[in-house]
């Protein structure tokens, strides 16, 4: 009996003492579309993200209007026609690190990670699974990942006129340094 109480107390205490959260307000999400006529890239460096090292929760949120393009008109079409940013201002990802035990957040190193969660954009939520890398250096956490999404999965319709300008599958790159700890 006593043992079990000690155990539970330990769980409670440890849960609290390791309840460390890292967050950033300046994460980077980029995308790349390769099509026959042109390649399109855009960056958003105002991405919000939180990692909870105790639970493995990993969440991202960004404003679609925060993506910046090389051509002004591309940015306008992205927001007006494809993402409908007035209607769906945010894109979010709420997931979990599935191999949390393999990552020691207190020890410097480069850890391969697997993440599964819900990606919501353009009003559509899909579960995605992707691999990434978490780097711990002098106690600071950074995370990177690359994955692909299909536009049709998110009900983003590309008119036939610009079929050769915009790829059906878009490469997404995530790169976040988490300077803030809580």
């Amino acid at each position: 009996m006593k043992k079990s109480i000690v155990l539970i107390v330990c769980i409670v205490l440890s849960a609290h003492s390791f309840a460390q959260k890292f967050y950033t307000k300046n994460g980077l999400v980029s995308f790349y579309s390769k099509a026959t006529v042109e390649d399109i890239t855009a960056d958003n460096n105002e991405v919000l993200s939180v990692i909870n090292t105790a639970t493995g929760d990993m969440q991202f949120s960004l404003l679609n209007t925060g993506f910046h393009f090389k051509k002004a008109l591309m940015e306008e079409h992205f927001n007006e026609d494809y993402m409908e940013s007035d209607k769906y201002p945010k894109s979010t990802f709420k997931g979990k690190i599935t191999n949390l035990s393999a990552i020691n957040f207190t020890k410097d190193g480069i850890y391969n990670t697997a993440v599964t969660g819900d990606l919501t954009m353009h009003g559509v939520t899909n579960t995605i699974t992707t691999n990434g890398i978490i780097t711990i250096k002098n106690g600071a956490v950074s995370a990177t990942s690359k994955f692909k999404i299909k536009l049709t999965d998110y009900k983003i319709v590309i008119p036939s006129v610009v079929k050769n300008n915009i790829a059906e599958t878009i490469d997404i790159t995530v790169s976040c340094n988490y300077p803030n700890k809580l």
Partner: protein, 301 residues
């Protein structure tokens, strides 16, 4: 005693794990709220292009972007079958607008009608936005300076009599994704080429657009000249049209009772009457080019 504490502790353990999961979501929400307060989100694409129909919209050309514009007005339907209901006549303005900064655009143009050269600037004084700055409207100031080089009899002696200046203030708001409206007070100093009775004109314009699809909108525009500044024989200009956007082009097709294509000409010198069938078909074609490295390397928003 132990038995009593056990379930409480167990609950505590569960709750603490549960709150941690909740915490991540709450924390992200907090970050979202904070960042929403700290960022200014400017309203985009209030209109498809820098012109509503004849007059200006609140839009300016993006920095480093050149907008080549060809505006065309046919003659009036009332000119009859011999004139193929106006299609035999044509009047063209060729113009170039360039975005210097995200709030300043400059342009030059030449109109065949009245052989007029015009030079314009459009400055965004206020920009509609939400977030850190909550601004309900966009306000632009558009001065257009024009030189009327038309040969008339008797000849114009002073060059200064050929000069005009139209000052237009545009107060516009994007009410929803589809609906944008604007009010355009104008103060115009006319040239003397057509011997106007009043040397200036004060007018108020209203206009707007309603999108009917992602790439198409219906537009309307009306300028009312205040009595006491309206030259006899002139009418107020009313136009209705459609904008069609395809990639880098915007086509504007409209019906209007004016032949003028600079602010001074269509606001203060229109003579057509809708009731008499003095309605002309017109179109504007806009094509944008990214010409400066600035437009390629810096965010333009």
């Amino acid at each position: 005693m132990f038995k009593k504490i056990l379930p409480i502790l167990f609950c505590l353990a569960c709750v603490s794990v549960k709150t941690m999961a909740q915490d991540t979501t709450d924390m992200l929400k907090q970050l979202e709220t904070d960042s929403a307060k700290q960022t200014i989100v400017y309203t985009k694409a209030t209109f498809k292009t820098t012109r509503l129909i004849n007059g200006h919209s609140v839009e300016t050309t993006a920095p480093g972007v050149l907008d080549v514009r060809i505006d065309h007005r046919f003659g009036y339907v009332s000119s009859g079958g011999y004139n193929l209901f106006g299609l035999d006549e044509s009047n063209v303005r060729i113009g170039f607008d360039y975005g210097l900064t995200k709030t300043l655009m400059v342009g030059v143009g030449h109109t065949a009608n009245q052989k007029t050269y015009d030079f314009l600037a459009k400055l965004k004084i206020l920009r509609q936005s939400t977030g850190k700055v909550n601004m309900p409207v966009t306000v632009d100031y558009v001065p257009t300076f024009a030189i009327n080089t038309l040969k008339v009899f008797p000849a114009i002696q002073n060059f200064s009599d050929r000069l005009s200046l139209a000052n237009v203030l545009i107060i516009g708001r994007k009410f929803s994704d589809n609906l944008s409206l604007q009010i355009m007070p104008a103060y115009i100093i006319k040239d003397k080429v057509l011997s106007p009775v009043y040397d200036h004109c004060i007018a108020i314009g209203v206009g707007g657009r309603e999108k009917i699809s992602k790439h198409t909108s219906i537009d309307a525009e009306y300028y009312y000249q205040l009595p006491g500044t309206q030259d006899p024989g002139t009418t107020n200009v009313f136009s209705i049209g459609v904008d069609i956007e395809t990639g880098g082009h915007v086509f504007q097709i409209h019906l209007t009772n004016t032949q003028g294509m600079t602010d001074k000409a269509f606001i203060a010198e229109t003579t057509g009457k809708w009731g008499n069938g003095d309605i002309g078909l017109g179109f504007n074609i806009s094509r944008v080019f990214n010409v400066s490295a600035k437009s390629k390397n810096t965010p333009w928003h």
